[in-house]
């Protein structure tokens, strides 16, 4: 019986190891192969090189004789810049709005409370494409030109939900007796909010902002529909390259994006775990 039990436990742990391997090995693979010198067969290893990275970052390498490459790089940088601008703007707006709703629902009881909660959860459950085309129809019909602004507005509609969820989770776990103590000691509402609630809430707000930032940077579907013809974001760029033909630079871009996301996400998760 002892043997059966340890076999079972051992098997479970082995399985979990495989589970993580399944999740992470593909990522490791492309990280490794991003240094593959083979320009044609990206999965056949011919030698080590960093020139794809150099190419992406704008340095001239042996490969960059073709005008096509230079143009791609220019487009790529523009896409990155757009993504950053969009992410920064949406993060700012969504964080403010999401936090506002979270606080409102936490502190006040009012008619329509449940309605707000439902609305907050809708974007999570909806397939992106539905929201994407709804926004497309809306913008075109109202004559708003598709571009950076529409992307920012469109992304905010669902980013607010993400921020809301993070912040209200923190609020739900907050100790209300601290607020009572503060009031008991003579502080008015604003002061209690500023000195008691906000400091505790701050890490969650930052966490929500980080989450919004990452999701904004990665968003493809919704952005795809409401970007119009002039604007490209980084995910859109990669998506179109995937459809047209894969070049080794995409590998380098992908690895850089992964690393960036990992760092930011680790930071965010670390902050959240600290506040618990």
């Amino acid at each position: 019986m002892k043997i059966a039990r340890s076999l079972f436990n051992g098997g479970l742990i082995a399985y979990t190891g495989l589970f993580f391997a399944f999740i992470y090995i593909p990522l490791v693979v492309i990280a490794v192969y991003s240094f593959n010198a083979n320009p044609v067969n990206m999965m056949t290893w011919t030698g080590f090189t960093t020139e794809w990275y150099a190419q992406v970052l704008g340095f001239k390498t042996k490969v960059s004789e073709s005008a096509l490459y230079i143009e791609s790089t220019g487009q790529l940088l523009q896409a990155v810049w757009n993504s950053l601008v969009i992410a920064a703007s949406t993060t700012a707006i969504a964080t403010v709005f999401g936090t506002a709703i979270a606080i409102a629902l936490y502190r006040f009881e009012f008619v329509g409370q449940r309605f707000y909660r439902v609305v907050m959860f809708m974007p999570m459950l909806m397939p992106d494409i539905v929201l994407g085309i709804a926004l497309l129809i809306f913008f075109v019909n109202s004559g708003i030109r598709l571009g950076l602004t529409t992307i920012i507005i469109g992304q905010c509609t669902f980013l607010i939900s993400y921020v809301f969820i993070v912040v209200s989770a923190r609020l739900a776990g907050m100790d209300r007796t601290l607020e009572h103590a503060s009031a008991d000691l003579g502080a008015n509402e604003w002061m209690t909010f500023r000195r008691v609630v906000l400091p505790q809430l701050f890490p969650a707000i930052v966490g929500g902002a980080l989450l919004a930032f990452i999701i904004s940077m990665d968003d493809l579907v919704i952005t795809y529909f409401i970007a119009g013809v002039d604007v490209t974001t980084l995910p859109m760029f990669i998506f179109s390259m995937l459809r047209r033909g894969i070049k080794p630079e995409i590998n380098a871009i992908a690895v850089m994006m992964l690393s960036f996301s990992f760092v930011v996400a680790s930071l965010g998760l670390y902050l959240r775990s600290r506040q618990k």
Partner: protein, 299 residues
């Protein structure tokens, strides 16, 4: 100012701008989409403001042939999308459950570390993670390279642009979504119940089927909903891993909007996805409402 009116002011300040924003840019567009699905397509794209139920007819079969012709392919694609989404749910569940089971029984530190590792990929770009599978599965991809070079096969296998590739890709993408609710459920399981079952004579298998599974069912249901709906309406994964050969409903919608420019029809297609989503949401709320009330009373 009285307390009541001061509160109302605060509430107004907090909720006002957000509510306006969401009403105009979230609920509004959704409502417009619903309306659009009942409109007629204009000649050069755009819409004509007449009541036109024939979009749905074209999809569902009650079309008036003067306006639209019923094409069963839409239903076929829809059903295939349902099939793929369902298989994805099943695959993610089978993959995640044993891992959740194992991790829930580890020490606190290991638990947190594992959760961290699982949520991390969630924050990376979807398109990048799919790109990885393209590199692995395509004709000149990793799998084929390895198999060819070791002589196990002579010609490259057709791995990508198949339904299997899509399911694989979707499973890969949706694992964190299924894992979280399942894990939450497994972690909350009261292990004395398992002991009680064993004590009363039920072996491990029976205990799993009669006690563990039913009690973790809410988590499984939650995960299923969170995976099924986005999987059903997904268009990125089939676009990348299915190419032109395997189309899902999401690709269809994209096509109608961007290529064919038939917005009303595209909206009608989207409505189909929406209605599935609504049905599932209602079912989920009803079922979980009953279970939550039960659980709350039990504690």
């Amino acid at each position: 100012m009285s307390i009541a009116s001061r509160r109302r002011l605060q509430l107004g300040l907090l909720l006002g701008p957000v509510s306006a924003f969401l009403a105009v840019f979230f609920l509004g567009p959704l409502a417009i989409m619903v309306v659009t699905s009942f409109l007629a397509p204009g000649l050069y794209g755009g819409v004509e403001w007449t009541f036109y139920p024939h979009n749905f007819g074209r999809i569902l079969g009650f079309a008036d042939p003067m306006f639209e012709e019923f094409d069963p392919i839409y239903i076929a694609i829809f059903l295939r999308s349902v099939e793929i989404a369902a298989l994805t749910v099943l695959a993610t569940l089978l993959v995640c459950y044993p891992a959740a089971f194992c991790i829930a029984r580890l020490s606190e530190r290991w638990k947190n570390f594992c959760l961290f590792l699982i949520t991390l990929p969630f924050f990376t770009s979807l398109i990048v993670r799919l790109f990885v599978w393209v590199l692995i599965l395509r004709q000149t991809g990793l799998v084929n390279e390895v198999l060819l070079s070791t002589g196990l096969i002579e010609r490259p296998l057709d791995l990508i642009y198949t339904q299997g590739a899509i399911i694989l890709g979707m499973t890969y993408v949706f694992i964190p979504f299924m894992f979280m609710p399942v894990y939450a459920s497994v972690e909350k399981l009261d292990w004395t119940l398992v002991r009680a079952s064993l004590d009363l004579g039920a072996g491990p298998v029976r205990t799993f089927l009669r006690i563990i599974l039913p009690l973790t069912a809410p988590g499984i249901a939650g995960g299923a909903v969170i995976v099924f709906i986005p999987a059903l309406g997904n268009f990125v994964v089939p676009a990348v891993l299915g190419g032109a050969k395997v189309m899902m409903f999401g690709n269809l919608i994209e096509q109608q909007f961007l290529a064919a420019r038939n917005w009303p029809f595209g909206a009608a297609l989207a409505m189909m996805v929406m209605s599935v989503m609504l049905i599932m949401m209602v079912a989920q709320v009803v079922l979980s409402g009953r279970r939550n009330a039960a659980a709350a009373l039990a504690r």
